[in-house]
Subunit: 301 residues, 2 copies
Amino acid sequence: MITVLSGGTGTPKLLQGIKEIVNPEELTIIVNTLENDYFSGVYVSADLDTVLYTMSDIINDELWYGVKGDTFITHERLEEIGCPELLRIGDIDRATKIQKTQLMEKYGLAKACEIQARNMGIKSKIIPMSEEQSDIKIVSDIGELEFHDFLIKHQSKPEVLDVKFSKVSPAEGIIEAINNSRAVIIGPSNPVTSILPILSLEGVREALKNTYVVAVSPIIGCDAVSGPASKFMNALGIEVSSVGVAQLYEDFLDNIVIDDKDSNMESQLKQIINKVTITNTIMNNLGVKKNLAQTIIDSIP
Amino acid sequence: MITVLSGGTGTPKLLQGIKEIVNPEELTIIVNTLENDYFSGVYVSADLDTVLYTMSDIINDELWYGVKGDTFITHERLEEIGCPELLRIGDIDRATKIQKTQLMEKYGLAKACEIQARNMGIKSKIIPMSEEQSDIKIVSDIGELEFHDFLIKHQSKPEVLDVKFSKVSPAEGIIEAINNSRAVIIGPSNPVTSILPILSLEGVREALKNTYVVAVSPIIGCDAVSGPASKFMNALGIEVSSVGVAQLYEDFLDNIVIDDKDSNMESQLKQIINKVTITNTIMNNLGVKKNLAQTIIDSIP
């Protein structure tokens, strides 16, 4: 069994490679739920949906959000009638969210996700990190912002001073999945808003210490490959580099995968982490994704 | 000022005629809200939306539900993924419902409706009969059913034994609207599930007694022009005929408009209601709708 910790962009890219290599029934994906919330009457679990769509090959992999080829009739109408929708929810995507909301209110989020994954023909196990509603606030130079307001309304532009999020309990099966895995892969997702929330769940860091953990750095040089990770890392006083990532995970990390461009960091990283793997991490096509996945899998003892 | 009491099919047809004749600013429409409920995370006030769409000329006037030319991408996807939606909500229509839900949760239903009407360019006043959530149950030979389950899931087929609905308070401005009108028109809507709920609001029957009231019978011969009105009338022991309708309204009704085909009922009706107007009430084109509206307006003293 392999377990992957995932956010919503970098790790799904990697999952496209992993799913070609690993037996899907041997794969568990634990997904961040920190920013989940209700929008337009439906529960939006953006990272979970991205993972579901990725694993069922319908992801819009330009945006890493929503369904490929979706239409936006309701969304555009809302704009037209003066009720703009913060999240750009497509018409097909909205159906997923309506169904998840109904299933969740009946069975809880984990079971809802399990049912949807099965319906989408996904053989891997996809577990939301928690059944509980979390709360995340971005403390910025223009005040305390909701996560999606910061990301979308303010386009990640404000200076970030702090990131605050509530502590939630892990969903059933998470600790067990980690304990039963021969390796845990931490994908190249935002360390602060996607991975730290999972690491903050009670028992997760302890479980990771007893498992082989390999992390793919989402940072090349001194900037994130995508998204506002740098700002969040800066705000929390984490060095924006693969070294900063390594320090964040050092109590349990066995192997850090960094990009060829950062090969000069190898010796510095080796003082923190046992093993450093250097390869191409810029996943701009399926070949790179598969190679990266293969390199990771091959590195597992 | 003219006030119209409306349900969701017969009266909107008549409204298409009335809006061509009456100054829209002199028109108030009080709309049934009995079956309002949440579906797919949004508040559905079917009759209100039908009246809004009718007055803004975007109604699907084949179904008298939803927006003309709408698409059903989300609705069809829900079916496809095993989560069929009881109500057939179109993509454009869904935007109206999302907006109304948000406005309602902020300002209440009446204000939400007022804002939407204004945004749609409607100059008439459209008031939901109540701000309160009502509850309607159809007691049938296969058990007690939710209204929409009876109507859609069971296609109005079960035998109806009784219709039960909760008492709610009138929305602000309803009694005032009736009191300030030179006439109230009761449209040819289902007397049991559309008009009786409005009549059951505290103060409405009293106010109607002091106003000139003209009702268009939704029954021709011994059957309803459309919908399951006959079943509901039967269940409540109301004769299914214009005479039955007249008896239901006799404490306040000044004039009943019946179809040419029922002219034989004139003398019997005159024993119950002061004035009987006989004309073509089968509104299958705008000409008939306008003629009927004109006949009604002309009959007001």
